[in-house]
């Protein structure tokens, strides 16, 4: 039997006062790297690769921005859950 490929999405809000800057991006990328699923982050129409620090910095997500996490793969659920938690915890920065 084929393992099911899941597609999971969730909305998250950027709580950090300086927005999604270097430290949050680094944390995000480290966490995302632990999962095998493809991970994307969307800011409105802009959709970028969640495992690329370069792309994430370019999202220019400021304080209060609502982003969409999109994960696709076996561990999609776990990925989205873990990453959402990071946002809630302000990436342990502030």
């Amino acid at each position: 039997m084929q393992p099911t490929t899941k597609h999971v999405e969730a909305e998250v809000r950027v709580l950090n006062s300086h927005g999604l800057h270097m430290r949050p991006v680094t944390e995000f990328v480290v966490m995302a790297g632990k999962f095998s699923s493809k991970i994307q982050v969307a800011n409105g129409k802009q959709v970028v690769d969640g495992k690329s620090p370069m792309d994430l910095m370019l999202l220019g997500a400021t304080h209060g921005t609502v982003l969409r996490l999109i994960a696709e793969g076996d561990d999609a659920e776990g990925a989205v859950a873990a990453l959402s938690k990071l946002f809630e915890e302000r990436f342990h920065v502030e």
Binding site: G19, V25, P53
Partner: protein
């Protein structure tokens, strides 16, 4: 698309590709590679990323203890950024698709990436551009970027974007025939850069403050040198509009170029001598290409501004000789040093409250024979190679002229004893740029071979205006009735004497004044090369009767405004493109 306003210093519209001159430490020696090298350059990129990453990891460990967690964060980010496959893939595709060298591809990519940060809404995020710069430097270092990109190495037509450009850089760039225009962060309307740009007829906008941060090599730029406008990556309607303007200008310019070998003669056969003004010997060719019949003003100052010491006699001789050989059998007027002590290297100079009215130019030269004599020796020696003439600046009394002539005769005797070849009776001229010289032009004319009206300084001294002082710069104008009357007086006073009168200030090259100057009786005009075709066009479109009629009318006006409006109308009547 971003529209920036700066100071337009050289009119003309051009649409083209930007080429940013690197201002940071790393320099890239080669931009393009042969296709066979792509694999090697790709490997350089991969290694650069790995090396940079390893370096970051090491530094983080070293500094973490001392510098605290914030620095560790930064390095952490850099490390992950460098581990990201995306940047290197983008850079590698630049190598494969555009044949960029590794270092150049890194530079182009990183600049574009950095620029995206400038567009972000949060100042904090905008600041992150600096981090990117850090990573860029690291990568470039590991990619072997070293020597400064040659200013001469323009391989295709581009618009140069630079923090600042020296006059000699501009001349070199223009020599490559690929300089469409240039824009800089620094610079003002009367800087040397401005003069050279308009002399070369290259559209330029300066004083943009931060254009080097906002433009990347490869961007499309619109440069409007008349209005001081620069547009980065114009949208389609803008492109259409500006391309049309540029095309129209090219047509006009081509039509003017056809005048090159035609005489500068009025419709009723009066010949006018059109000469060129230059700062460097390398500009002579350009002047001749534009139809100059010689050089009416070779400013020698650059020789004094290039190094820490004043130039030696040999260095000056080489420069004057080069110019003389380039001019061939046409006249070459070399003006002696026209600087104040503040600009002369090693001058042992004391601060003056009023340098403009102080010890400069001929006054300085006459008090520093140790510098004046070598210059005169060099000019005399150069006269063996062509029709060289010497001109003294800022003369304000007949005694000054006599003293200068005396020193010249001493120097001539020396050279003769030493066995040098030179023109014994070298023509001697005086720049009429002080009110005193203008008023006593007749007396001066009796003791020299030619006079040249230097309107730039003459206007400043007469109207008592410093044109570089923004508060009063608008008071500077060649069209003031007092100036016109003064010039007319000089022409009348010297008319019957055995002296050639010319004008070499900016006014001589301004097409709106051509009809008037001819009507007043001027027969020789010296100007920046770029202005020669236009002025010739006007000359060929009028008769002397027209010119005299215009002169009579203009001399009756009381205000600058009336003068300018009238001259513009009259000029456009004979040439609508003026």
């Amino acid at each position: 698309m971003p529209l920036k306003r700066g100071i337009g210093v050289s009119s003309g519209v051009v649409v083209g590709t930007a080429f940013v001159l690197d201002t940071e430490e790393a320099r890239i020696s080669k931009r393009l590679i042969r296709p066979e090298r792509a694999a090697d350059e790709t490997a350089i990129v991969e290694r650069a990323f790995e090396a940079a990453r390893a370096e970051v990891v090491e530094e983080r460990e070293q500094f973490a203890a001392r510098a605290g967690s914030e620095l560790a964060d930064i390095f952490g980010f850099h490390e992950h950024w460098l581990a990201d496959q995306k940047p290197r893939h983008e850079i590698i595709s630049l190598i494969e698709q555009k044949r960029y060298s590794a270092a150049y591809a890194i530079s182009v990519f990183m600049r574009r990436y950095r620029r995206r940060f400038a567009e972000m809404s949060s100042p904090y995020l905008q600041e992150r551009a600096k981090d990117v710069q850090d990573i860029e430097r690291r990568l470039l270092f590991h990619a072997g970027a070293e020597t400064r990109i040659g200013v001469e190495e323009l391989e295709e037509p581009v618009i140069i974007v630079a923090h600042d450009l020296t006059p000699s850089q501009i001349v070199k760039l223009e020599g490559s025939k690929n300089l469409l225009g240039f824009v800089t962060d620094l610079g003002g309307s009367t800087s040397h850069t401005a003069i050279i740009a308009s002399g070369l007829g290259v559209p330029a906008v300066v004083g943009l403050e931060d254009v080097t941060r906002q433009v990347s090599t490869g961007d499309t730029l619109v440069v409007d040198g008349l209005h001081g406008v620069v547009i980065i990556n114009p949208d389609p309607p803008q492109l259409v509009e500006y391309n049309a303007q540029a095309a129209h200008q090219r047509t006009v310019r081509a039509a003017l170029a056809e005048l090159r070998d035609l005489a500068a003669e009025t419709k009723d056969g009066h010949r006018i001598e059109l000469l060129g003004n230059i700062e460097f010997p390398s500009e002579v060719t350009h002047c001749l290409e534009k139809g100059a019949m010689g050089i009416g003003l070779f400013r020698s100052e650059y020789l004094f501004m290039q190094q820490d010491e004043p130039p030696t006699e040999e260095e000056q001789y080489e420069a004057y000789r080069e110019a003389a050989l380039a001019v061939g059998d046409k006249p070459l007027v070399i003006r002696t040093m026209d600087l104040g002590g503040d600009k002369i290297p090693n001058a042992n100079w004391e601060v003056e409250k009023n340098p403009f009215l102080g010890l400069r130019s001929i006054r300085y030269s006459l008090q520093h024979l140790g510098m004046f004599r070598p210059q005169l020796r060099a000019i005399l020696r150069a006269s063996a190679h062509g029709d060289v003439r010497v001109m003294f600046p800022l003369i304000s009394r007949i005694m000054e002229l006599r003293q200068a002539k005396f020193v010249l005769s001493l120097v001539a005797e020396e050279l003769e004893e030493e066995g040098y070849e030179f023109t014994q009776k070298i023509p001697i001229g005086v720049m009429v740029e002080t009110p005193a010289a203008a008023i006593c032009a007749k007396e001066l004319a009796r003791e020299c071979d030619f006079l040249s009206i230097g309107t730039n300084d003459l206007i400043q001294y007469t109207l008592a205006v410093d044109r570089t002082n923004e508060r009063v710069a608008q008071l500077y104008t060649p069209a003031d009735p007092s100036i016109l009357r003064l010039i007319h007086g000089i022409i009348r006073d010297t008319h019957k004497l055995d002296v050639t009168l010319s004008m070499c200030g900016e006014m001589a090259g301004d097409p709106f004044f051509t009809i008037l100057l001819l009507g007043m009786g001027l027969k020789t005009l010296s100007m920046a090369a770029g202005n020669i075709p236009r002025v010739k066009k006007i000359i060929r479109s009028i008769s002397m009767d027209d010119a005299e009629r215009v002169k009579r009318r203009v001399l009756s006006f009381e205000t600058e405004r009336e003068v300018l409006n009238y001259l513009r109308d009259e000029t456009r009547k004979v040439w609508e493109e003026a």
